[in-house]
Symmetry: C2
Subunit: 250 residues, 2 copies
């Protein structure tokens, strides 16, 4: 065992009992990384079984659990924050159980051998994002003529029974205009979403209503569906902070 000034703990080839005790003691304060041989069973909205092998298991103080294999961006098994973690040794096996209550979902990790355990006090840093949909909406609220001359923003995040409208406007002819923003390529689902809002607004406020999908790009199938529905498209990219990588690179 070794402890540094940063207060992390690293165990190499620990016993299963050591690991179980360690998980239960530190699961609420540290990010725990286990490199272990294990099989994984899941039961909840579906069921799955992962055959034995060496993989990474990560648990976080908020109850998240991730199991990563050799490839893919996504973990092969996972639990969201709010789950209850417990470890114990049964016979020759370390049994790690993560339970989600609603909906009920359970991950069971069975491990005959843990190679490495790292208890890492991780930061929750300040994360700043530019170029989000929120920033696109703000940009249009300040410069509505980016969409068309004479457009007047009325309300942001207008709640309907069929979802939240990004930005509600009025055009120069007195029509209500529903704007739906996508920060990357707009898809069929975005068209359907906009259609849902426009249908609702027409039902409530009458036919003087238009819908515009605002995105830096659109698929051809989404574009033709949009035309079919009598809805519109405006190309707009999220505002950029060019040079952010250059400025700060040493």
């Amino acid at each position: 065992m070794s402890t540094a000034g940063e207060d992390y703990v690293l165990l190499e080839e620990p016993s299963l009992t050591q690991v179980a005790n360690f998980i239960n003691a530190f699961k609420k304060t540290r990010v725990l990384v286990l490199y272990l041989n294990c099989e994984v069973l899941y039961k909840g909205r579906a069921s799955s079984k992962l055959s034995p092998g060496d993989r990474l298991l990560i648990t976080k103080p908020d109850g998240s659990l991730l199991i990563h294999e050799k490839t893919k961006r996504e973990p092969v098994n996972w639990q969201p924050p709010g789950c209850i973690l417990h470890a114990q040794v049964k016979g020759n096996m370390l049994v790690i159980r993560s339970i989600r209550l609603r909906p009920r979902e359970e991950i069971l990790v069975l491990s005959p051998h843990v190679h490495v355990l790292l208890a890492a006090p991780c930061t929750q840093g300040e994360f700043r994002l530019w170029g989000s949909e929120g920033e696109m909406i703000e940009l249009v609220m300040k410069n509505p003529s980016l969409i068309e001359p004479g457009l007047k923003p009325l309300k942001r995040e207008h709640l309907t029974p069929h979802g939240k409208i990004d930005l509600l406007c009025e055009d120069s002819k007195g029509n209500i205009v529903v704007l739906e923003f996508k920060r990357s390529t707009a898809q069929l689902s975005g068209v359907s979403q906009l259609k849902r809002y426009v249908d609702y607004m027409k039902k409530v406020y009458g036919d003087k209503c238009r819908g515009i999908l605002v995105a830096p790009n659109i698929t051809s199938s989404a574009k033709s569906l949009l035309a079919e529905y009598g809805l519109e498209y405006r190309r707009l990219s999220p505002p950029s902070r060019t040079g952010i990588l250059k400025r700060t690179t040493p």
Copy 2:
């Protein structure tokens, strides 16, 4: 440095040059886990900046990159498979760069200090999933009366310009029936998706067309939108393998 039979490598408090060399040598064959102090810059579809702090960085042989903090199931920054990774030391900083070519996205990790580096030869295990949408569709194809008496399956995964229809059927009165399956609670977006398919089928084959959303559950807003569109709902849960966790627990 320590190497076990499983051929993993663990470096504690390595020098930055050691880490850079190690990353470049093993990035294509091992899962690398770094517990390090770093800040992270991202530029692509949006831009972001993550303030300095201690976190986990994971790279995989397929080019995926994940940066995890103290909380959340999702990494704070990430790249998908297919990215190009490179590490070097500039001055007193370890600079790890991950580049995605299309769309162009870049993550830059700047680290003054690496606490731990683990090179882990992870498995790609056999993952078996039960209770998926695919299994629901198979269940209905074999037992169409679960939906309604006299229903006859025609075609699975029927492609339209507006997306793929899960299962196309014909009812006892000769209507075309579009079935859309969800393995968990059906939402507004599922209703819109079904509406899109039904609208298309009506346009092509005429008005003798119905749409049914099949799911174990549905939100109240989705249910009322469904009714408004004249579409239907059938409750059906994915087939379960009960006892899978019990059977295998030691």
